[in-house]
Each structure stands twice: as C-alpha cells, then as structure tokens.
Symmetry: C2
Subunit: 291 residues, 2 copies
C-alpha cells in the first residue's frame, strides 16, 4: 500500500503557482472570498484559502457580510464583484445559512469569475469536454492527485460513491471525458443503490464522496484498488482539545492494507481542493488579461 500525500502534491502545485504568479507583469490575481455566518468549518476553510493565496502571491479579499444578509443583498454584492475589474475570481463559501438558495447564489457569479466551478455554465462545459471553463476544485483536485501519483484512468473502472453537485457528478463527467488523461469507465453509486458493496468491489479506482463517516469498509474494496477519500466528517472525540476528530468516508484502518494506493484524511483531497482553487484563479486572471 502506498499513501498518496495530498499535502506534498498540493505544496508542489502551490510552488509552481508561486513561480507563475511572480512572473506576471502588473497587478497580481485577486480572489474574492465571501463567507456568510460563522460555521466553524467555513471559517477554517476560508482562512486556509486566504493563507494559500498569500503564499502564492494571489491577493485575496475576504468579505464577511452580516449573517442576516438577504438573498437579494447577496446577489447585489456578487453583482458588484462581477463588475469589478480588479477581481478575477469569486468564491462564496458553502454552506450558506437558510433560507438562502445556495445554487442560485453560485449561478449568480459570472461564469468568467466562477473559480469554484459550481455555476451552470462551468458544469455544462465539463459535459462538453471543453477545457475553457473552471472545473470545480474538488474533482479537479482528485484528477490532479491521480495524475501526479501515476494513476492512469484510461480503460479503468472508476466507481464514485456519491452523486453530489460538488464532487460525484462533476468527477464522473471528468473521468469519462474523451481525453488521454480520462477515458475511464464510470459508475456512480449513491444512497439508493442496490448492491453497493459488490459494485464498489469492481472499482479499479474508488472515489468515496458520500459524506458518511467511515462508510467504505474493507469488504467493499478490491485488493490493489486506488482509494480516494473525499469525506471530511467531524466525529465527537472527548480525548481531543477540540472535542472532535476528522475522519473520511473510508474506514482507513481496515481499507488501507488492501488498497494499492490510498489518500488519508486529513492530508489527502482537502489540500488539493485549495491548490486547484488557486490554479483556477490564475486561469481566470489570464483569461481576463490575455498576454
């Protein structure tokens, strides 16, 4: 079993981006990070994004509207960022508090600045095998993690557990693209799937993105399979100062010995997501400032 070190691979990408940003003439790329409310995970994610941007030399603009902001007010805020020539990318941190319609907010971001890739246009472009858009950061991060770990998808059977808009569906579309780095056979399973364990066992590459702590157990994994754990679940742990620990969607202790390669949680997919957000921000900048 080989551990896929997401921290290391993400650090490589961050270093590459730092070099690329340093070579840019004129102003640096700018990413607007909008966070509504004080969800502890959101606070920590936005902090991490801000820190990584700073490391690369990307300017970040953290915007913290009042937690009671209405949907029209949030739209107006996004309108201003869409129109601001000094802003290249816009990310609205999920989850948004009720009763805001999160999807409507993602869609309100101009496609050219939608570096989180959750708007309709950027999703549709993945289905059209079109590289000009922004691929949502988690699936893009998984593709990069696989490529930089020497995993070739072509002809392989990829089984994705979970059909979310943020991970399962876009990753499935990416992996089945008609491209040398893709060309996978793809199965998408989910909570309603009959015989999920038997399907998962067919996977050459298994993507666990169902959002249930330690859902994938050893009996669901083919010996030698590549296992990518997208889950980030907080489970109570009185032994910790924080009162919780993070576990993935994979029962690591039992699965790891069977897997060919596996990502840990934390330190697997998580850091990749942040690195790919920065890559998308640089791409947005370049598209808006053609050389």
């Amino acid at each position: 079993m080989e551990l896929i070190d997401g921290n290391k691979i993400a650090a490589d990408i961050v270093a590459e981006l730092r070099g690329a940003v340093a070579a840019l003439p004129g102003r640096k790329p700018c990413l607007a990070l909008v966070r509504v409310g004080e969800d502890p995970a959101s606070v920590s994610y936005v902090k991490k994004k801000e820190k990584t941007a700073a490391e690369i030399g990307i300017e970040s603009r953290v915007i913290l509207p009042p937690p009671a902001i209405t949907q029209p007010e949030l739209f107006a805020l996004i309108d201003r960022l869409n129109a601001d020539p000094a802003v290249d990318g816009i990310l609205v941190q999920s989850p948004l508090p009720e009763p805001i319609d999160e999807l409507a907010v993602f869609r309100h971001i101009a496609p050219a600045k939608d570096v989180d890739g959750l708007g309709t246009m950027n999703l549709g472009k993945i289905a059209q095998d079109d590289d000009s858009g922004f691929v949502c950061c988690t699936p893009a991060g998984i593709m990069e993690l696989l490529a930089r770990s020497g995993v070739r998808l072509a002809g392989k059977h990829v089984v994705v557990i979970g059909r979310s808009l943020l991970v399962g569906k876009p990753f499935a579309l990416l992996a089945m693209q008609k491209k040398p780095e893709a060309n996978a056979t793809v199965t998408v399973c989910h909570s309603r799937t009959a015989g999920l364990a038997a399907l998962a066992r067919q996977a050459d590459v298994l993507i666990a993105a169902i959002g249930r702590p330690e859902f994938v157990t050893a009996d669901m994994v083919q010996p030698g399979a590549i296992v990518i754990d997208v889950g980030v679940n907080r489970v109570p742990d009185p032994a910790r100062k924080t009162g919780y620990r993070l576990v993935g969607d994979v029962h690591f202790a039992s699965v790891a010995p069977r897997a060919g390669k596996i990502t840990p949680v934390p330190g697997g997919v998580g850091p990749m997501t942040v690195a790919l957000l920065m890559q998308n921000t640089l791409k947005a900048y370049r598209q808006q400032h053609p050389a």
Copy 2:
C-alpha cells in the same frame, strides 16, 4: 419479452400535445428548423419534425441556408432567430458540414430557445437537477419511454454504452438525478472500456448508444433486462429499393428473446425524440408567454 412500441407512445404524447396546443390562446408555438446541406438522414429528420409539428398545431419554419454558409453567417442567422419574438424554439439539425463547429453553433442558440437542449446551460441544468431547462430530446425521450412502459429506475443499475453529448452523458445525468423517477445507479461504458460485455451483463436497464450496427449481442444482456436501442445505422441492403436498411446498436434477433422489454429500430426511440422536441417547444412557448 415485451416490445416497447415507441410509435404508439410517441403518438400518445403527440395527441396530448395537440390538446394542449389547441387550448392555447393567441398565436401558436413556433419552431425554427435550420438545416444546412442535403445529408439524406437530415432531410428525412427535418421532414418528420415538420410533419409532427403540423399534426400538433405547432408552426414550423424550415430554414435552408445555402450549403456553403460560413460560421459567422450561421451565427448571424441564429442571432436573428434568438431575437425574433415570433420564434419560441430553434433547432439546428446535426450533422453540420465541415468546417462548421457544431458545438459552437448549438451554444449560440439562446438557452431559452434551445429546445434541442445541446447548449451548455441546458446541459449544466441536468447536472444541477434543475427542471427549468430543456433536456436534449433523445435522453428525455428514453426517460418518457421507460416511464410509460412501467419501468422504474430507482435503485436499478442502468448501463449506458456510449458517452456522446447527445445521448450517453445527458441520459446518465438524468437517470442519476435525485428524483423519484430517476435515482438509478449508472455506469457509462464506451469504446475504451475494458470488459464491456461483463459490465453490460450487470444492467437492469441497458442503453445502447454507441453508434455501431448490432454491437450488443445476446451474451452482453442479463436475462430479463430492459434494452433500449438508440442506434440508427444504415447498412447496405441490395434487396431494398433504397439500397439500405436501418439497424440499431442491438442485434435484435438474438437479444430480444432474452430481454424483459426491448425497443425495436425503427419504431423505438426515434419517434420519441421527435415527440419530446415538440414538448420542449411547447415548454419554451409557455416560459416565454407566462399565463
């Protein structure tokens, strides 16, 4: 084995649409059909669409630009149709002659008039489980065919052979939507898939959309499976006046005895595609003329 009669089911939908259109106040829905060149299949498809529109009471406007039309000229034509308040839906018949970029043309149609559903916005909406858009007619037709044949997808394993933009990918996204009529587990196979026969044999519902005559043989089909044949292939047949006959992507003679239900070619998916185009045109009309 039960034959799924696409002609009968499409005729039911056409009758329903005729009733709905008759009840509309004011002008009738209008569909612009743009055909470039004299590809014989395109000529026959557009004729069929024109005829079905007339049966329903939908006005059709067949536009036959010169075969040597350039891409900018075709864009300008679409711009005029996009801006024309008397036109509700626009279909540009595929295939377009070289060197026109077909995808760019589909994307040029305003999303609100893209009744063929091949533009980026309408594809992205399927991935977002959003019903406000237009689902491309063939996948929408297959969903309707299954529903009206009493086939429930929830929890079933759907295997799609073929990952095209027109059928395989949008159908996969539709079948995995979080909706009572969907909720399927979905596998997408294609020309690069290793072990395709074994995967196809797992299908409760098998969608053959790979564009190869009689590709699916009996050994690839689980006894009792529902088999939907999307293929329309012309194979030479000197015994026919036309010199060819139509065959599907399924070897009907050997597969039919094993299947639970199966669609014939012709008379299966084909007529459904036309019926769903009309349904989309009525939907476009209603969205543009709210009651």
